[in-house]
């Protein structure tokens, strides 16, 4: 299973080398990996249906309780199959969609890395590992939305998606840490068995709110729904994959996964049902309001995510079965519809539904496939979407909280969705043919394969609900509950209330579709409160406020004067350390320190050189006297038997003087810039630091807070470190991680100097 998760990352890393050799066939070959993974996960089907779960745990950072643990149960398997299956179709599709695009390689790197992250997310059995994969999906999504990075709309949309989902991710991290602390373990499969204890804990409410915030931002729930339609700036295969079938479902996945641990309480039911219900209606409404084909689909995805959240909130057995069926149905038809939308855009050159018409003659296969999937979206028999919607209505009717309200919302949504399905699948293909920017013809086969396979599955699962299998659906739904679930899917439930409501919805939707143009005009009057004063305006306001704040703070802190930077640093140090010294260690300075004569001589030399460096009017004199200070300090090291330090100090001093001499001739003549007041201030700052360090040392000699570690180092240096030079053993062995960090800093500063000088040279400019 580890290999299955890592394979995507590995292939993604290899793409830059493979791409030049594969060229046009690349997409077809890469698609083999997700296809193979689909088959691999399919072999788990019988076991999972029988109620087994596979586990695998590898220690990662044992000190932090972090392990790469994977857990494959019904819910994970459902997601894994969707991720790999749709992934294979999307990668295949993208090969043709981006044909001849020089950025193809980059695209495949990102989408394969995304696929692996998403797989890791749904298979993780460790909260922290899950969070890491969660953030990886946000980052890959950011890069994919901003794929057209030369387009400012795409950049803005990418940033918006990132800020919203990662902002929620921060809340989620806090929530998961709380959850791990409360449960005493970060292993999810153990946490879900401790529901009682967690729900009764004092931290339950804060941790619930934090987790919900993370899930709602990721799954684009109201009021965070606005980032998802904007994410449609991404290439269409990305929209089909990330922003409809997989990534945005991560939030609902997390809700479902944690339902046995956190669900069933009043806050959970109220928040999830109401937020989900509101999202559902908002999404459906905005879908009908939109005219861009991808936007209609994006908003109907928001609708579906809202429905799923609502079902998790309702939390009954029926709701869980409906959750799984609706999720499966949605991924199949929405993935297909997005791929069809991409095909339409690719062949006609426009995304605007109003600009399309009568395309069924030019694109008969596309028209047929669109109709199949749109029927599933509208929830009409005999497609699988119908079963999902019927189950949803049934669950909502029996909801323990606000059942009537949720039912009303569900029916209104269903009406709107039927109309939206018509807009997507009928409007572009029927009616009067229109001129489009490109002369339309049928899309290439690789681009039709995805919608065809997904459409067929929608139809097959609908006609024969036994194909996904009651046992598998039960196993998936069972993961949401602490008790076993028994699901039975059927196309015909008899003459029930849900069927009646469906019929009503279809009639209403058909009516709405026939008056779509007029309805849109009416809806436009509501645009002001919905868009201009909606949550997106709030986001814009927040971002503008953040920039404004930065604009005001930056000039104060980043003024570009080294002198002031040093003063700020020194004064902060003096204030913080001085405060601690004064409040904790009053009146206990070391007295009676032996001073040898030669020590005094070096000290006087030091002081004289320092004063000279400050007073001199010659740069060379200053450099030399600073050098004298350095060598005097090195002498002190030598006297106190620290030869390593002493050698280092001497060498550094030498090189510093050389470096100073190198730049010395570049500098203009010596001018006294600072006024006497400024100098007095500088002297005060410097004096304060000197006073602080002296006091600190005198205090440190007097106080022994803990047994010095040097004895341990001296004792263990030879047996543990195999070396008699303790300083070196510390540097390369005991504290090697610190040293590694330090040499990285050394190399980085070299790169900094290099690039600064190169930049100045290349621009010929005065200031870098």
């Amino acid at each position: 299973m580890l290999v299955a998760v890592l394979a995507g990352f590995i292939l993604a890393a290899l793409v830059p080398w493979l791409q030049p050799y594969l060229g046009e066939r690349a997409g077809r070959l890469y698609a083999l990996l997700p296809a193979a993974l689909t088959l691999y996960f399919a072999t788990f089907l019988p076991g999972v249906a029988a109620g087994e779960a596979s586990q695998l745990a590898l220690p990662w950072v044992p000190g932090l309780g972090l392990e790469l643990a994977f857990h494959l149960d019904g819910l994970s398997l459902l997601f894994a199959l969707l991720i790999c299956g749709i992934g294979a179709l999307v990668v295949l599709y993208a090969g043709d969609y981006l044909q001849g695009d020089p950025r193809q390689g980059r695209f495949f790197v990102q989408i394969l890395a995304f696929m692996a992250s998403m797989l890791g997310l749904v298979l993780s059995d460790n909260l922290i590992a899950l969070f890491i994969f969660w953030e990886l999906t946000s980052i890959t999504s950011y890069m994919l939305i901003g794929f057209d990075h030369e387009d400012s709309t795409a950049r803005r949309a990418a940033l918006q998606g990132l800020v919203v989902t990662v902002g929620g991710g921060l809340a989620l991290l806090a929530g998961l840490v709380l959850l791990g602390t409360v449960a005493g373990t970060y292993t999810i499969s153990e946490i879900v068995t401790q529901g009682e204890a967690i729900r009764g804990h004092a931290y339950y409410l804060p941790l619930l709110l934090l987790v919900l915030l993370g899930a709602f931002t990721k799954s684009a729930q109201v009021p965070f729904h606005f980032w998802l339609p904007n994410a449609m700036a991404a290439p269409t295969p990305v929209s089909a994959y990330l922003h409809s079938a997989t990534m945005v479902k991560a939030g609902v996945y997390l809700l479902a996964r944690l339902h046995p641990a956190l669900g069933g309480t009043d806050p959970w039911i109220v928040i999830c049902s109401l937020v989900g219900g509101a999202t559902m209606v908002t999404g459906a409404y905005l879908a009908v309001r939109s005219t861009g084909i991808k936007w209609v689909l994006a908003y109907s995805t928001v609708m579906a995510l809202g429905t799923l959240t609502m079902l998790v909130g309702v939390g009954t057995e029926a709701a869980m079965v409906a959750f799984v069926a609706f999720l499966l149905g949605h991924s199949l038809y929405k993935g297909a519809l997005f791929l069809i939308a991409g095909g339409l855009e690719h062949e006609t050159g426009t995304k605007d539904i109003l600009a399309m018409g009568g395309l069924r003659r030019a694109m008969p296969v596309t028209a047929l496939l669109a109709a199949v999937s749109a029927l599933s979206l509208a929830g009409l028999p005999p497609l699988f979407g119908f079963i999902g919607k019927e189950l949803m209505l049934e669950a909502v009717l029996a909801a323990p909280f606000a059942g009537a309200l949720l039912t009303l919302l569900a029916v209104v949504t269903a009406v709107l969705v039927v109309a939206a399905a018509g807009v997507v699948a009928l409007r572009p293909f029927y009616g009067r043919p229109r001129e489009t920017p490109k002369a339309p013809h049928e899309a290439p086969n690789a681009m039709l394969a995805g919608p065809a396979v997904l459409g067929l599955l929608s139809l097959l699962f609908g006609l024969v609900p036994g194909v996904p299998g009651d046992a598998f659906i039960s196993a998936a739904a069972g993961a949401l509950s602490s008790e076993p679930v028994h699901a039975h899917l059927a196309l015909w439930h008899g003459l029930t209330l849900p069927l009646g409501l469906s019929a009503l919805a279809v009639a209403g939707g058909a009516l709405l579709y026939s008056r779509w143009d007029r309805a849109r005009a009416a809806m436009r009057r509501l645009d002001t409160p919905l868009y201009e004063r909606g949550p997106e305006a709030g986001y814009d306001w927040l971002m503008a406020a953040l920039e404004g704040l930065a604009r005001r703070v930056t000039p104060v802190l980043q003024h570009g004067y080294l002198r002031h930077y040093i003063a700020t640093t020194v004064l902060t140090l003096v204030a913080l350390v001085g405060f601690t010294l004064l409040t904790r260690y009053q009146g206990s300075l070391a007295t009676g320190i032996d001073v040898r004569f030669y020590e005094l001589v070096i000290a006087v030399l030091l002081v004289v050189a320092t004063v000279f460096a400050c007073r001199t009017q010659s740069r060379l004199g200053a450099v030399v006297s600073v050098g004298v200070v350095g060598y005097a300090v090195a002498l002190f090291y030598l006297l106190f038997s620290a030869p390593d330090l002493s050698i280092t100090q001497i060498l550094v001093e030498t090189l510093t003087v050389i470096l100073l001499v190198l730049v010395l001739f570049k500098l203009p003549g010596f001018v006294s810039f600072s006024s006497p007041q400024q100098r007095a201030w500088d002297a005060l700052v410097a004096g304060l630091l000197g006073l602080l360090v002296t006091t600190l040392l005198l205090v440190a000699i007097e106080h022994q807070l803990a047994a010095p570690i040097s004895e341990y180092h001296l004792r263990e240096s030879v047996p543990l470190g195999h070396g008699r030079n303790v300083v070196n053993v510390i540097i390369v062995d005991y504290r090697a991680l610190d040293t590694l960090g330090e040499i990285f800093v050394v190399a980085l500063s070299a790169i900094g100097v290099y690039s600064m000088i190169q930049y100045t040279r290349s621009t010929g400019g005065d200031r870098p």
């Binding site: 008699r724 390369v732 590694l740 040499i743 000088i757």
Partner: protein
Amino acid sequence: MTRPRSLILQTMARLLLPLQLLFSVFMLLRGHDLPGGGFIAGLVASAGFVLFLFAFGIPATRGLLGVDPRSVAGTGLLLAVASVLPGPLSGQPAFTAQWWEPVIPLVGAVKIGSPIIFDVGVYLTVIGALLTIVVSLAEAEE
């Protein structure tokens, strides 16, 4: 650095550089038991190259180095990171030092360990970084 070059400096630099390099390697290898180590050795070697740079100018120094100093720093970092790996590979935490003390005929017992590799990494990083800075500054001066 187009000033006329000093013959004395050139002669000195040519003589001193090999000695300084030899001395730096000596400092590097003895570092684990006696004063020395990667940092110090790197500084000694850099000082040698800088002296050479002053005497002969940038193109000659670059020619002498044969590689870009930035690559030297990068190699050093890679080595240092690589020296972390023997621990995990033998099932111990990262950074766990691994030691071998083979007895080589005529030489006697030799201590070889991953910390030495780490120290060589430090050595190369210091040389590479310092020379990158000095060469950049010297080139800017031209």
